[in-house]
Structures are given as C-alpha cells and as structure tokens.
C-alpha cells in the first residue's frame, strides 16, 4: 500500500518541483514543503547546469571569454557580451566609435524586447494559457530574424567585441527594424486583449507574491522585479553607459510589488525599448564600427567592474587582472540569482498555483542563476 514517505514530522508533504518540471523552464529544482496546497517552505537547489563559466574564463583571453558569456543568460546574450566588452574597454581605456555605440544600444534594446516577449508567453503558459506563447513568438521571431541577418546567430550572438561590434550592420537592418516596430505596434493591443484584461488572469496576479520595497532591496533584487516594488534601480538611468544618457526614456516604476505589477512593468518596458530604438534607428552615424585595437589584449593590473541593465536586472562583471592576457579572476553578478532568493519570501503561505505564477513573473533563466 501507499507508504508514508517524503513527509515531515508534522505530516507536511515534501514535494520536488524540478529539476525536470514544466514550470521551472530549465533545470531549477525547488523542494517544497506543503500543508495540503499551501506552501510552507521553498528551498531552491541549484547546480544542475553549473558549467564553471567563471573558472573557464580564467584560462581564456579577453577576446575569447566574451563568447562564453552568451551562454549565461541566453535570452539577453547581446547584453552579456556588451557588459564584458564594456569592462575590457574601461580597463584599457578604449574609445568606442559612435556608430558602434548606437548599434550596441539598438541591439540591447531589441534583445530586451525579445526577452520580454518570451517571458510574456512563458508566463502565460505557467498560468495555463497556451495561446499567448505562440503570439509572443510571432513578434520575437521577427527580432531573431533581424539579429540573424546581422550577427549570423539567433540566440548566442557573440556580436559585441572589445572596441565595438564584430561586423557592420546588414544593409537591410534599418528597414527591417522599422517594419518590426510597425508590426509590434499593431500587435501590442492583442497582448492586453488576450492576457492583461482577462479577469481570471487579473485575479491570479493581483495581490499575489507581494515583495515590499525594503524586501526587494534587502534580497538584492534588480531589474523589473525590484522596479515593480518601487526601487529605482535602472542602471541605464543611474549609471548610464554608452549613449543612454542622451536618450529619452522613462524608468518604469510601480509600487504594488505584486505579480501584476511585475507583469505591467515588463509590458511597459517593452514600449520604452521601442521608444529608444525609434530614437536611434534613423540616426546611426556613419564611420567605423570597431576601434583599432591590438590583436592580443592585455589589461593593466587592477580590479575592474562594470554593470549593465539586462532584461532581468543588473548584471555586474568584475575582473581582477594581474596584467596578463587572461583574467586572474572573473565574477559575474547575475540578476536571476538574487531575484530567485526572494521567491520563498514572496510565496510563503500561498497555493501551488501561486508559486508557479509568481515564479513566472520573476523571469528566471536558469543558466543565468547557475553559471
């Protein structure tokens, strides 16, 4: 007969969600302690996709290590590459040509939109609605095609290199991006009709998984998760890099801190990204796309840190150099890891369905948490 295994002394059920589970979007492993349907404890177990990226980087040169970082947060690989390139440029004081800066920012923002699109579909799928996934992919596919034309890749771009970008833009780039913006604007209302306005969806999201401003700060949350709780943390505004300081865009903030706020922040962020791309796309200056750099890069002795805003939050790259061609130590501060740590606080006392919904709004990418 059925045995009494996997229960605590109080008779609570211990259940493994993952490492293979449809809701964890990867190999995240959560150990839940449940009393009936109510969650008492959430314990993330990490390490299933640990590839020692930081250790690998120690034996790679400053030109090579960027390629590995595409595999961290694979949904914003452009931005990861960007962060690494920026750190190396900062250390070596390389002046990046204007054209390259424009290209980088446009690519970053397109990546952000693509990443949020995928999140939107996947989160709706967590809530049991399958259709939005396909609608999100329709637009995301267009961005991926644009990327493919210029970078030759669709997911792990490896496009940004120290000193600029690897190759010049594809001749069709501006035309394609403009037609994407047109498409996106015409379809955006569909998102609200299909998901945002749905009464079931709103009931599932509002007031669920609340993260207060203080908690968001103390857990080290960043990106849309923290901004939904009212924390001013957009690196593009606080510590502008590249040409972000000259651009007009709003830092999307919300105060509710619940799942719905996180949802709305991401939706609005997509529109802000569109705004940024619109400002730049017609004015990409002519000129070099890459600064003249030596074939072998050598960083001066010292410690260098650069942070950027990825689609998920603040990504920090910390390089310790001893003056050689490879870093002595590299540390990545990934947004997903800190955001995941707030999960237990958010969902304690809620139902299993809420765990899945709240986890969906955290927008976790597991290879970003486990590097």
């Amino acid at each position: 007969m059925v045995e009494e295994i996997g229960t605590t002394a109080e008779g609570d059920l211990i259940i493994n969600v993952g490492p293979q589970h449809p809701a964890t979007h990867g190999v995240l492993h959560l150990v839940l302690t449940l009393s009936g349907e109510t969650i008492k404890k959430v314990e993330p177990h990490l390490g299933y996709i640990h590839r020692s990226i930081e250790k690998m980087c120690e034996s790679l040169t400053y030109r090579q290590f960027i390629y590995v970082t595409s595999r961290m947060d694979y949904l914003s690989s452009h931005i990861n590459n960007h962060a690494c390139a920026l750190t190396v440029e900062k250390a070596m004081q390389i002046e990046v040509p204007q054209r390259a800066q424009y290209i980088r920012v446009i690519m970053d923002e397109l990546t952000r939109i693509a990443s949020h699109e995928l999140w939107w579909g996947a989160m709706a799928m967590d809530l049991g609605a399958f259709t939005p996934f396909f609608h999100a992919f329709r637009e995301r596919e267009t961005i991926t095609d644009i990327m493919e034309k210029t970078c030759g890749a669709r997911l792990t771009m490896n496009y940004m290199v120290p000193g600029g970008v690897m190759v010049d833009l594809h001749p069709d780039f501006q035309k394609d991006v403009k037609s994407f913006i047109q498409l996106y604007k015409s379809k955006f209302e569909e998102y609200n009709e299909l998901v945002t306005g749905n009464i079931i969806f709103q009931n599932r999201m509002k007031g669920i998984g609340v993260l207060s401003k203080e908690d968001a700060i103390s857990y080290g949350c960043s990106g849309p998760v923290a901004r939904a709780s009212g924390v001013n943390c957009d690196i593009r505004k606080l510590y502008p890099y590249e040409i972000y300081s000259q651009l007009e865009f709003d830092e999307v903030l919300d105060t509710a801190g619940d799942s719905f706020a996180r949802y709305m922040v991401r939706l609005k962020e997509m529109q802000q990204s569109i705004r940024i791309v619109e400002q730049l796309i017609d004015y990409i200056p002519e000129g070099e796309f890459q600064a003249k750099t030596k074939a072998v890069l050598k960083l001066p002795k010292g410690e260098f840190y650069q942070r950027v805003e990825t689609a998920r939050g603040e990504l920090g790259v910390y390089i310790v150099s001893e003056g050689g061609t490879t870093p002595y130590r590299i540390k990545f501060r990934s947004p997903g890891f800190s955001n995941l740590s707030a999960l237990e606080h958010m969902v304690k006392g809620l139902k299993i369905g809420d765990l899945v919904a709240a986890m969906g709004t955290l927008d976790l990418v597991i290879p970003d948490i486990d590097r």
């Binding site: 059925v2 259940i15 589970h21 809701a23 809530l127 609605a129 259709t131 396909f134 079931i200 899945v356």
Partner: protein, 358 residues
Amino acid sequence: MFSLEGITNMIHEWLNNHFNATIALLTEFVLVGVAAIALFAVLGLVLVWMERKVAAVMQIRLGPNRVGPKGIFQTTADTLKLIMKEGLTPDGADKFLFNLAPYIVMIVAMLILAPIAFAKNFQIWDINIGVLYLSAVSSLSVIGILMAGWASNNKYSLLGAMRSGAQIVSYELSAGLSVISIVIMTGSLSINDIILSQQDGWWIFKGHIPAIISFVIFMIAVTAETNRAPFDLAEAESELTAGFHTEYSGMKFALFFLAEYINIFIVCAIGATLFFGGWMPLHVGHWQSFNHVMDYIPSSVWFFGKTIGLIFLIMWFRWTFPRLRIDQLLNLEWKYLLPISMLNLILMTIVAIMGWHF
C-alpha cells in the same frame, strides 16, 4: 429520406423475421454494444483531431497536416503508437486499483451514453428518469480519478486527484440545478419528452432569461466537471506535470485521454438536448413552411451540428483562458454559481407556473 431510424427499424425487422425473438434481442444487444464502442473510438479520434486543429487556428499555426489529408489520420497514428507502448505500473503503486482506474473512468463515460438521443427515435435506452440517470452516473467518474491519483503513489497525482474530487463534487451542484430548471419547464425527466417539448422552439429561446442563465451556468459547470481549462486543475500541466494521470503510460493513459473527450461530447450532447432541442430542427412557433423546410435536414445532422458547436465553445475556452487557482475555483462555485443557480431556479419555477414561456 435518409434517417437513422429507418436503418434501425430495418435491422430489427430483418432479425425478427429470420430468428426467434430471444436471439434477435441478444443480437441487437451485441450490435448496440459494438456500435457504442465504435462510436467511442471514432469520436475520440475525431475530437482529438478537432481540438488540435482548433488550437492551431487560435495559435496561428497549421496543426497536424502530415498523416492523411489535413492530418485527419494523425490521431489514428497516435493511438496506434499508444497501443504499442508498454503500460508501466510503478513499483510503489497499488497495482489492482492503478490498473482498474482507467477502466472505471471509461465505463462511466460509456454508461452515460445510454439515454442520449442521437437522432429521431435513435436512442439506446429511453429511460423515464433519463436526466436523473445522467447526473447520477456522471458523478461516478470522480471515483476513477480519485482511484488513479491515490493508487499511483505519487504526490503530484494525489494533489491532482484531491483537486479533482473537490472540483467535480462542487460543480455537479450547479450543473444539476441548471438541468433541473429545464426539467421544471418540461415536466418530465425523460430525454425523449424533453426533446419533444421543444417542438415549437428550443428552450433557450422559449425560456426567457432564466434559460439563458442556466445555459451559461451549465456550460461553466460542465467545463469544470470534465476537467477542462480553465478548470483543468486536476491536470494543471504547469503545476502538477500531469496531475492524476502522471504515472500512466501507453493505452492506460490513452483511456483517460479518450474518456476526457468522450465526456466532453456527452456533456455537450446533454447541453444540446436540454437547451437546443437535441435532434429537433429549428422550429419557430407557427411558421409552418419554415418549419417544414427545416425538417428536411436530417435529425442526426441537427444533433451532431449542435453538439459540435458546443464542443467548439469548450475548446475555445481552453485555448484562450488561463487557469484558475483552487480556492478561486471553489469560490466561484459556492459563492457565485450556486446562489445564482438557486435564484434562477426560483425564477424558472415562477415562469413555468405562470406560463410566461412561449
């Protein structure tokens, strides 16, 4: 004119002319059984294909299109694959109950088929308490689901079965109450009488607002009873992987899967019978010539047309709505649907007593 009634009468006469009455009756039993099983298989295949095509249209893709024209043999191929797969029984499972559960779910689905009228005079069993029989037998399917969830010895299955138990037991109330409101109008529990009472118009048109309210409640309740999205908490793919049938594989899984679609067909058939007149063509009061033209469409076409329309509605729900949470699900039933359907029942009774319906 083509009618199913003619075929059954012909077979009946032929059997009675060539054999004695007992053998003829036994042969008819066997024929009905075979026909029911064949209908099951065909319905299962067609509805799964239909669901995949409906989903594809909603999700801007093509859906199955490789096996046969428009992929109509895709589900046949899938079923063949499932039959050939090994039916695993987990080590810790209660083997007897584990293997029994899918058959219980399936048998219950087959039993409900008995009083449904597929066409004019084409009904397996015109029992005089047809509606009561339907609601009584349909509540048995929860036993199969609970059995599957408990016997699997899997926590996901157990949670799914728990949810399903709470859900089906609650939603049966409003489904039952909305069915009763039509019974009040008709004054009979027999399916045949209910259909015949809609000779001059379907109840959804004749019964004023109360009929429309009970139809809406009926559709919500049966969607929940068949464990379909947005009430698919028993399966809840993103939460419980597959809910109560997580541990099932091969044909045992296929039986659950098939039973789901048969149940959809049955509840939609009941809905069509109660609110849209079953096989009764669209008749409007005293418009003799219009009614006469409508009668030319065979009654089986009317029945299947209405049923498939309602099935499409339920599929439409599934592919557009997100899932409810368990407490919201029970709130919806106990705090909203049940009080509304009770009030509606009173309203319906008043309408019936005063004779306000058409």
